[in-house]
C-alpha cells in the first residue's frame, strides 16, 4: 500500500473539513485506491489558539501535528503533498512556491493567490516536475477546472458564463423573491453568516473576477489576468429593476462572462439580465453554475455547491487522491502558460444588449428626444416600456436595446438631457 503524507498550510473551515473527510474516508480510500493518506504537519498562526478552536469545533487534531513554522511543512522530506488553506495572496503564494521548490505537489483552493501568481507557481511546478491542483478554486465542488483542463482540451471554447459567487447569488435571489432592497437582504445575509462583515470582495465582484481570470485563462489557453477583467458589483442593484426585468422576461444574475472571437477577448463581471428560461437563470440561492460553449461540445452546464466546508473538501480530496496516485504529473498544471501567450486583444467595447431605466419628465416630446440620442449612436431599441414612477410628474422609461457596442450605448446615455430625463440604471442583457 502506498503511504502518502500531507502537510497543511492553515486549518480553518476548509482545512478542517479536509482533515475530517480524510479521517472518515481513510479506510475506504485504502480499499478503493490502495493508498494510505495521513496528515503529518499543519501550519497554524498560534498553536494554543488553534487547539482551542479545534476543540470548540469538535475536530480532533493532535497537538503534535501543529507548527507555527511554515518550513516544517514545506521543507519536510516525508511530506509529498502540501495543501494550502490560508486564503489571501500572501504569504500563501510564497509558501506554495517554497513547497513546489521542495518537490512537493501543491493543492489549493485559493483563487486570489493563484490568479495573481499563476506565472511563478507554474514555472516552479514545471521546474520541480511536480503538479499544482486547484479544482476547488472556482465553483467549489463544480468540476470545471478538470473539465476545461482535460475533457475539453481538444475543443475551442468561445464563451463562458458563470455564477461563481454564492453570496451575491443568494442576495439577488432573495431580492427577486421577496422584492426587498439590497441593503436589507445584505444585512440578513450577514446575520446568517452568508456574507462577510466586510462584504466588499463578494458584492463588488472581486471574488468573481479572480475566479473568472482562472476560468478564462484555462478556457482560452492564454493568460487572462485579474486586471484585464471589467468589474461591476451588485451594490447599485435595486429591487425595482429586478422586478421590471422579470416582467419583461429576464432574471438578474451577477455573471462572470468571458468570450473569445479570433484573438479578441472580453472578460467582465457585472449584473446581467438573462432570459428567465436560460438554465443559469434558474440557479438560485448560494448555488454556483458555469455554462460553457465550445465549437465541438456546444453547450454544457455544470452546477453545484460553490462553497461550504464539506463540498469544497470533497473537491480538494479528489485532487489529493489524484496527486497521491500521480507518478509524473502532466496536468492539471497551468499548461497554457508554458507557451508564450497568444497575442490576445482585450476589448472593452463588447457587443451587448442593455436594459436602461430612465426617470423622465412626463410630457410630450420626451420620448422623441430620448430616442434621438440612441439613434445618433446607431443603438437600435428593441423594446420600450413606460411605467409609473414614485415622483410626481415623472415616469419610468425602460428601454431594452438590440446588441450594440458598449461604448456606443455609453455615448448615447451621455447625450441624454438631464433636465428631462435621468439615468437610473443600466444593466447589460445577454440574449444567449
Amino acid at each position: 500500500m502506498k503511504q502518502v503524507c500531507l502537510g497543511f498550510l492553515g486549518c480553518g473551515n476548509i482545512g478542517g473539513g479536509v482533515y475530517r473527510l480524510l479521517g472518515e474516508m481513510q479506510e475506504t480510500l485504502k480499499e478503493r485506491d490502495n493508498i494510505s493518506i495521513s496528515v503529518k504537519k499543519i501550519l497554524v498562526k498560534n498553536i494554543d489558539e488553534a487547539v482551542a478552536i479545534n476543540e470548540k469545533k469538535g475536530l480532533c487534531v493532535p497537538r503534535e501535528l501543529l507548527t507555527e513554522h511554515a518550513e516544517d511543512v514545506t521543507g519536510d522530506p516525508a511530506i509529498s503533498i502540501v495543501c494550502e488553506f490560508m486564503g489571501g495572496e500572501q504569504p500563501a503564494a510564497r509558501f506554495m512556491q517554497e513547497a513546489l521548490a521542495h518537490g512537493k505537489h501543491v493543492i489549493t483552493a485559493n483563487k486570489v493567490a493563484l490568479a495573481l501568481n499563476w506565472d511563478k507557481l507554474q514555472a516552479q511546478a514545471e521546474e520541480s516536475h511536480v503538479g499544482l491542483w486547484y479544482e476547488a478554486s472556482v465553483g467549489g465542488v463544480i468540476p470545471v477546472i478538470r473539465v476545461l483542463n482535460v475533457n475539453l482540451e481538444s475543443d475551442r471554447i468561445d464563451r463562458i458564463y458563470g455564477i461563481i459567487n454564492g453570496t451575491t447569488n443568494y442576495i439577488l435571489t432573495r431580492m427577486a423573491q421577496e422584492g426587498k432592497d439590497y441593503d436589507e437582504v445584505l444585512q440578513d445575509a450577514q446575520r446568517l453568516g452568508l456574507a462577510e462583515p466586510n462584504p466588499a470582495t463578494d458584492v463588488e465582484g472581486m471574488d468573481a473576477a479572480y475566479k473568472l481570470s482562472i476560468l478564462a485563462s484555462l478556457a482560452f489557453h492564454g493568460r487572462v489576468t485579474y486586471e484585464q477583467i471589467y468589474r461591476e458589483g451588485i451594490t447599485q442593484v435595486s429591487a425595482q429593476d429586478i422586478a421590471f426585468g422579470r416582467e419583461m422576461g429576464y432574471t438578474l444574475k451577477l455573471l462572470g462572462i468571458a468570450k473569445k472571437d479570433g484573438d479578441v477577448v472580453e472578460t467582465r463581471v457585472h449584473p446581467t439580465f438573462l432570459p428567465s428560461q436560460h438554465p443559469l437563470a434558474r440557479v438560485d440561492g448560494s448555488l454556483n453554475a458555469i455554462f460553457i460553449h465550445g465549437t465541438y461540445c456546444r453547450d454544457m452546464m455544470l452546477q453545484g455547491r460553490g462553497a461550504g466546508d464539506m463540498p469544497t473538501a470533497s473537491a480538494i480530496c479528489g485532487d489529493i487522491v489524484e496527486a497521491a496516485l500521480t507518478e509524473k504529473p502532466h496536468y492539471p498544471t497551468f499548461r497554457n502558460t508554458a507557451h508564450p501567450d497568444p497575442a490576445f486583444t482585450f476589448t472593452d467595447n463588447w457587443q451587448t444588449c442593455a436594459y436602461i431605466r430612465l426617470s423622465a419628465v412626463d410630457r410630450p416630446g420626451v420620448l422623441a428626444r430620448v430616442s434621438e440620442c440612441f439613434a445618433k449612436e446607431s443603438v437600435s431599441i428593441a423594446s420600450m416600456l413606460q411605467k409609473e414612477a414614485a415622483d410626481e410628474g415623472r415616469a419610468n422609461l425602460i428601454i431594452i436595446t438590440h446588441p450594440a457596442p458598449e461604448q456606443s450605448i455609453r455615448r448615447a446615455l451621455s447625450l441624454l438631457d438631464e433636465s428631462i430625463c435621468r439615468l437610473e440604471a443600466m444593466i447589460r442583457v445577454e440574449q444567449e
Copy 2:
C-alpha cells in the same frame, strides 16, 4: 514533440467526427500540448463502401489508411492508442481486448460493450499496464465519468438521477409541449433522424440501462451489471398522464435512478414524475443531464449534449489527449473492479411515491373501496383528484401516494376490484 499514432476500429458518424476534429485541431494540439496526433489505420467493413461514404460526407480519409483486418489496427506496434467506434457488443469488445493485450490504450464510447464486458476489459488493461478511457460512453460530452472517477473519488455517492437517453427525452418533451401521443411523436422523431427505424433500444430503456450500469458501478465502487437494473420504457406513456401530472406540479422524464443505502442498492430505469421545479425537470429536448448526490459534495448537476457526432468527438478527443500524455495510467480504468465487489444487496422493493390513474365507475362508494385497498397495504395517499373521463359513467381517479415500498403499491393495485375500477397508469414519482 511527442508523436502519437492512433488506430480506429470503425469510422461511422462518431469516428468520422473524431477524425475531422483531430484534423482541425492538429496544429493547436501541437502548440498546446506538444503532441502530434495522427491516425495510422482505420478498420472498416468494406474499403470501397467506406471510401464512397466518406466522399459523400466530405470526409477526406486517405484510402491507404483503411483496412478490413482488425489486427492491422490492434496489432500494429506503431499504434499506441486504439479508438473503438464500432458500436454493439461484438466484435467490438473482442477487438478492444486484443488491443489492450497488445499494450495499447483503448478509448471507447461503446456503452454496450463496456457494460457487458467490464470485467474482462478491466483485467486485460491491468495486466497490460494500459488505460481504458470511456468518457463519451455516458451522456456524450457530459464529463460524468471523470467526475465520478476523479473529482468525487473521496466522496460517498448515495444517489444518481440521469436523463441519459436523448431520444426518449426528445419524445417526452414534445409529448408534454404539444399534447401529442407517443406514436405520433415517435414517427416524427424517426422522420427527423432523432429516433432509429427500430427504436426499441432507446424507447424500451435498454440504452439508459447500459449507461446506468456504468454510472452506478463507478459511483458505488462495485459492479452493477445490466441485468441488475429494473427497466421500463416509455411506450406506454400517454399524453393524458403527462398533462394530469403537470397539473399536479410534476414533469415526466425517463430517468436512470441509482441509490445506495448501506449495502442496499437499487437501480432502475423507468418513466418518472419529478417536481416541475427540479433542475432535471427543465432539461428538455435531446439534452442529457445527470444529478449526483454525495455525503460531502451534496448535490451537483451536469448537463449537455448527450449525442451528436461533434460533441461526442470532443469528449473522445479529451480522452485521446489524456491517454497520449499519460505515461503510466492510474485511471480511469474501472478501478473498483480491481477489488472484490462489496456484497451489494440489490432490492426491487425500493421506497417510492406513485402516480396512479384509475378509470373508476362513477358511483357512490367507489372511492371508499379504492382507499381501502391502499389502506390494507399501508400505502398512504398524499392526494387524490377526480377528473372527467372520455367514457360515459366513468371518471379518472388520480392518486399520488406517499413514499411506500414498491411491492406494497403493487399489492394494493392488485387488490382493486376490476369491475369498478381499472388501472390505467402507474408512474413512479421522485420527490427529491
